[in-house]
Amino acid sequence: MAEQPLSDVKVLDLTWYIAGPWCTRLLADYGADVIKVERPGAADPARRLGPFLNDSPHPEKSGLFLHLNLNKRGITLNLKSQAGKKILKELVKDADILVESFRPGVMERLGLGYEALEKVNPKLVMTSISNFGQNGPYRDFKASELIINAMGHTMSSCGLPNREPVKRGANALQYQSGQMAAAATMGALMASRLQGIGQQVDVSIMETHAGSVDYRTQNLLGYIYTGQECPRVDPREAGVSIMPYGILPCKDGYVQWLMTTRTHWARLCQILGEDEAEMDRRFPDLYDMTRKGELEAMTANWCSTRTKWEVMQDAQASRLPATAVFTAADLVQDPHFQERQFFVEAEHRAAGKLKYTGAVFRIGGIPWEISRPAPLLGQHNAEVYGGLGYTAEDMVKLREMGVI
């Protein structure tokens, strides 16, 4: 396997669930040696989460776990035991980065807070991911994906007026916080390598969303600039002109349209097979919203005889921004992403051969491949502890005493 950009970086990964593991998967994807540390027996709770292969729950066959923990090595270690703390510190000595996502205070109570670890390795970057940050009145509050949507200022503008707001899809916000944590961690690594200083990186999931550049911070600043809040609007009534600016059904699904300019108008007339001059006469004012329904019906009619792929292809051929609404099935089979080799296959001892999402970006000239599937529980105990100088007999004792 070709050398990767982060081949010289060692990461200790104490995280569970989604945000932390996604952060460390990104580091692992670009060559970092990531050692995932799980509790003996209890393990990462994500192993209990579906989807499961053939809907058969099994700690080595969780699709979520497999996806999040690709490219990492795995050990078991009981951080509550004195021997476990000692071993972790031995690992910290040679590590560049440690990522944890426990409730704030847990690492300190274990005697493994940043102050303690800095003494072991002054250059260590310790990334701490938490719901609301390492301090503040909400420090100890619990959260869920839904609550992150609500408190991360992400939900108030989504959904229809006159009913409850609706969250974003799946567990997207937790992944996004992990992606932000990867960026934050790399920044601290630069400081560590160039200035020889370690530090703690405090990633508040709430702040990674409140500070996000899209409609969210636009709305925060809009409120400051004008005193107006962003309401939820019905997309069927919104839009900047009478041209379709939303989702229309077609023969086998839906297509997302977005048309805003006069250039788009000309192209729309063309694909509808209408004479533009005639259409200009029929719709003299593109901003007279009372005519919106009529134009939308014409476009929907055109879509109804076509599959979402035909709509996308024909619209794009005429330079109109329309995309099919993909399902995961569409995505995994899609020729564009196949051409880009975005989905890659790996063989896992328990789950077998499966496809996974691959490189989030490619650095020119460096081929990207999966280096290893997600680890079985404790799969790399022998090689990691052996590397620290523990003998096979030591490891038996440590296992018997519940340390590994």
């Binding site: 053939n54 989504c158 790399m186 370690g198 996000s212 297509v255 999402t357």
Partner: protein, 437 residues
Amino acid sequence: MLKLPLEGIRVMEITVVWAGPFACMMLGDLGAEVIRVESVQHFPSSTRGLMLKIPPSAMKPGSYYHRLYLDSEVGDRPWDRFAYFNRHARNKLSCCLDLTRPQGMGVFRRLAQVSDVFYENNAVGVMEKLGITYEALSQWNPKIIYLSNPGFGNTGRYKDYLGFGVNIEAVTGHTWLRGYNDQDHPMHNTAVYHMDAAGGAAGVFAVLTALHYRNRTGKGFYIDMAGAETAIPHFGEAVMDYVMNRRVQRTVGNRDMHGAAPCGCYRCRGGPDEWVCITITSDEEWRAFCQAIGSPAWASDERFAHVLGRLQHQGELDKLIEEWTSRHDKYEVMVILQQAGVPAGPVIGDKDAHRDPQLTSRHFFEVVNQRETGTHIYPGFLWRYSKTPMTVRRPPVCLGEHNELVFSEVLHMADDEKADLAAKQIIGGDAYLEYNR
């Protein structure tokens, strides 16, 4: 004296809309000198404005524009007063060049030769048409890192497809996975798109990874980053369910993907749009919840005592819960339930956010003065460093604000050359030429 991680690094950006400018803002936050290469000859789509000239009819109360221009007025320089742009424009410089003329490209080349990173997120072909390719830049500067972030990537059959954030949203599968789960048609307001935030974070991670590698190899790199691909992995559950089980996942509305129940958004007291979200993930939390809300009779119903029962009777539970929440303020519900160990939190709106106790105690908002808009509170940093804290070193950048700094101090241009190029409008300017025509 400790330095910011990217002190000494120079980034040039020709970015539009959100993902690109967002990533470059964070690179600036990290200490890089980020230079927006802009142009008074060309008003880019959806960046410093949605339209160059905003007609009075577009500025009516309640309109999108009315909500986003300072004091709801376009002023003399609307491109410096637009919230959509200003919230990501801190910690950057701006210079203006005419890239369509050879002398302008000559200046661009000189800037590339003293820069470490070039960042762009334009539609495929735009940079190529100007001759701003990795081939060209790497010849001028072999150490340069060139990151390109179009929606579909620079290869593949859709590479020339047009698509805004909402289109890529559909391609990543997110549109199908979000929205209410009690309606057939996915035509809901999905105002916040995932790709912009995902692309911003991925872009910073990519640049830092490349810089790290460059420190070892001494070489620069081209980075191909498709907007869609920075977000698709965030829907791993749906991808894996299809890969493993050929099942096509659909939206679950506000429900929990993994069966925690009750899980939903409930009305609160104090207004028509006051909501709180609650997620109960265990029997223990359920018991604590019942106690915290005063142990009403219905809470001891056998049907709700275990997870399968709560899941099955969620609809009924939602109504009962809302009867309680609607008598309380949303922050009050959060405090009562969190103190009992139950996950709960308010739906925070734009006004709420500015008064939120957690955000304000952590100094999330920053007070910033910008010459065009004055002093206001801006959303701040997305993470914190214990030893190299980030600060707002420069306010939201005005168009061409640093022409003098860039041409004189960064490029060491002689006065006569500067005057000559400025007279020809090849460099300089701080107002779009088309605006007053």
